[in-house]
């Protein structure tokens, strides 16, 4: 057996913006007529090309569970599509040793008019199972889904929960040597998500190779031993899950002394409402998030301001959105200053690193500018019960709630 399950070499994927999908017969006809006339004019100029993946190289060993993370638009889905052969790479080569199956969604090919029973066979064979294989696992699948009473009912009459359960049950019984899974698996309610993640863990432990794409950092942390971080179509870093998640949550090393992510500030430019400065001021009994910004749009009379506090894993602890709060700024000049006054953070957050997002919006209509992870701050652990034991996030959770304890004697 060769040492690797998947080997990706120099893979790039180029899209031609505005050409694919918008091309009509008429356009193509003119293009070829032009060519005939000897113009030979290049149809696609460089500016219209978009590299979704650039020079991707990595290897996955047999039995490894590797996470692929990155922001929206980093190229995760494209990489997945190339690996699943849904779309062809523009250059490069991928070698896969073993039977590979990919799961980009559950219930692919389900037909609403057909019964649950028929859809199991349909979906199974679309996922690449043979009829014999499906028959063998049929009872198990039905059992797992918990819809045996409705097996002969058309799935369009199923509740959305039943539908997803049945769809996932089929997918969960796929037994490839290599599995490529997209995060769309994490649809449905919390319980169902937990079930999905649990099943994924089982698959991973059974020694199969898994490539897992997700935004769900806790799940990635749980499942994957190694991670690959993508950004703008390139691999930024490859390494242990902890390191990569840390890097993902803290994307830039170009923070200035105030801890503001300059990269992101640059990106915000060109939009009309921009953040100029942001400071977290810790005072005795409260914390102030001081925000300074500038508005360049003369027609804009007011904006809403929101902030989010996120844990290191990206879990949103609180989102103070203007939709909820109605925190509005009415412009009197181009520059504006505002502050969010929160309770003292030490009293509400447990130890660890936290991240702050800031955004400006036209409430309920449109986000004007969003600054992801603009600030980072750290909270120290506290000995809230004076027992000499420090309440830390890792062992005691996010909320350092001071509790009283009473014993009643009968």
């Amino acid at each position: 057996m060769s040492g690797f399950a998947i080997k990706v070499e120099n893979v790039s994927k180029k899209f031609e913006l505005g050409v694919i999908g918008t091309s009509t017969f008429y356009h193509t006809l003119w293009y070829y007529l032009d060519k005939l006339k000897g113009g030979g004019k290049k149809k696609v100029d460089e500016a219209n090309e978009f590299l979704a993946l650039q020079d991707i190289n990595f290897e996955v060993k047999h039995g490894e569970v590797v996470g692929i993370i990155g922001k929206n638009g980093a190229g995760k889905s494209t990489l997945l599509k190339v690996l699943s052969r849904i779309t062809e790479p523009t250059t490069g080569r991928i070698t896969v040793n073993g039977r590979i199956a990919s799961l980009l969604e559950v219930g692919t090919g389900f037909h609403p008019e057909l019964s649950g029973r028929e859809n199991i066979f349909l979906n199974g064979s679309i996922l690449g199972m043979t009829r014999v294989e499906i028959k063998r696992k049929f009872d198990e699948i039905v059992d797992f889904s918990g819809v045996e009473k409705f097996l002969d009912t058309p799935v369009k009459r199923y509740s959305s929960g039943m539908y997803v359960r049945l769809a996932f049950a089929v997918a969960a019984h796929l037994e490839p040597e290599i599995l490529v899974v997209d995060e769309v698996l994490s649809v449905g309610d919390m319980e169902f998500q937990a079930k999905c993640i649990g099943k994924m863990g089982e698959v991973a432990q059974s020694g199969r190779t898994v490539l897992f794409v997700s935004h769900n950092m806790p799940a990635v942390k749980n499942l994957c031993s190694r991670c690959i971080l993508l950004s703008s179509g390139r691999i930024i870093q490859e390494g242990s899950t902890t390191d990569i998640i840390e890097r993902y949550m803290n994307p830039s090393n170009t923070r200035n002394d105030k801890g503001i992510n300059l990269d992101i500030l640059e990106k915000g430019k060109g939009k009309d409402v921009v953040l100029k400065d942001c400071e977290i001021i810790r005072e005795d009994n409260h914390t102030k998030v001081l925000i300074q910004g500038m508005n360049r749009d003369k027609n804009l009379k007011m904006i809403g301001v929101g902030i989010k506090i996120k844990s290191q894993e990206g879990v949103v602890l609180t989102s103070i959105s203007p939709k909820l709060t109605n925190f509005i700024i009415k412009f009197s000049s181009d520059n504006f200053r505002c502050a969010f006054v929160l309770p003292e953070l030490d009293s509400i957050l447990s130890s660890g690193k936290y991240f702050l997002d800031i955004w400006f919006s036209v409430p309920r209509l449109q986000i004007l500018n969003y600054y992801d992870n603009i600030k980072q701050f750290e909270i120290k652990g506290k000995d809230i019960y004076n027992t000499g034991i420090i309440h830390t996030q890792k062992t005691h959770g996010y909320l350092p709630i001071k509790t009283e304890f009473k014993v009643y004697s009968n």
Binding site: E88, I94, T95, L104, G109, H111, E113
Partner: protein
């Protein structure tokens, strides 16, 4: 490990990998079954609809051409209704495949964007479903021949050849249209138009000899003209197909092979285009 898969840009558009289509034959059957079930699910009379549509088009065509326009049946001495049904036999498969396959990939785009399989499976499954339409027309012919007490001539020996031509023509048209519709959405509208025009430009309910001499060559540019004439001739006799027809058979084979290659070149970009 036995399985090794290499993913890389396809270098030549001439590598077809038809063996892969064979490997996915189970999916092909499942999709065919799905189409068939869905087509008649939830209708009160179910499968009977598969009979009603062709019977009505035969009745109308026969009434318009036989009773009103009185175009006759050429050299074949049979009732006009049988003549039309035999003509329909060559046309029906072509029209069913084209009608079904044209939009088939757009209809299956949710699948195409989410999972890999040889895309040719989709129009092929429509082509298999369409055999039902062909079988129904053949059954109608058999019943009419029984009713009118007409025996097939020895030409019937040639029927498999002409039916094969009809099937190849259907596949060719279906594969071309499904690929073209993905590439150019205009074909969503072009396909039904083509079928409507084709129905009258093909000698289904009238003999090819009814077409004026100066239009004959033009008439046989329609490859289906030869197919329909041939199928009918082998069932009920009459004038054998014009020599032009044999040229159109060669053309059909080329269109078929070209279609697979064109489909193949579009297939690579299908998920990006849809």
């Amino acid at each position: 490990m036995a399985h090794q898969l290499i993913i890389q840009p396809q270098k030549s558009r001439f590598s077809l990998n038809l063996r892969e289509v064979w490997q996915y034959r189970e999916l092909l059957w499942t999709l065919t079954y799905r189409d068939f079930r869905v087509k008649y699910a939830q209708t009160a009379i179910g499968f009977a609809w598969a009979f009603i549509n062709p019977i009505f088009s035969i009745l109308i065509l026969s009434f318009v051409f036989g009773t009103i326009a009185k175009v006759g049946t050429g050299d074949a001495n049979v009732p006009h209704i049988l003549y039309t049904t035999a003509g329909m036999c060559g046309w029906t498969y072509f029209s069913a495949v084209l009608g079904g396959a044209g939009n088939s990939i757009i209809g299956a785009q949710n699948m195409v964007k989410k999972i890999y399989f040889p895309r040719l499976v989709i129009p092929l499954s429509k082509a298999i479903t369409s055999f039902i339409d062909l079988a129904i027309v053949l059954l109608c012919i058999a019943l009419l021949m029984l009713f009118f007490q007409i025996l097939p001539t020895e030409n019937i020996l040639y029927l498999p050849f002409f039916l094969l031509m009809a099937i190849i023509a259907g596949l060719a048209g279906g594969i071309w249209m499904s690929a073209l519709t993905v590439r150019f959405r205009d074909f969503v509208h072009i396909t039904p138009l083509l079928l409507r025009v084709g129905m009258y430009a093909t000698p289904i309910a009238f003999p090819a000899s009814a077409v004026p001499e100066k239009y004959q060559l033009l008439f046989y540019l329609n490859p289906m003209a030869g197919v329909v004439e041939g199928v009918r001739w082998s069932i009920i006799g009459g004038t054998p197909p014009s020599p032009y027809a044999y040229i159109s058979f060669v053309v059909i084979c080329f269109i078929f092979i070209g279609g697979i290659y064109y489909f193949n070149s579009v297939q690579r970009k299908m998920a990006d285009i849809l």
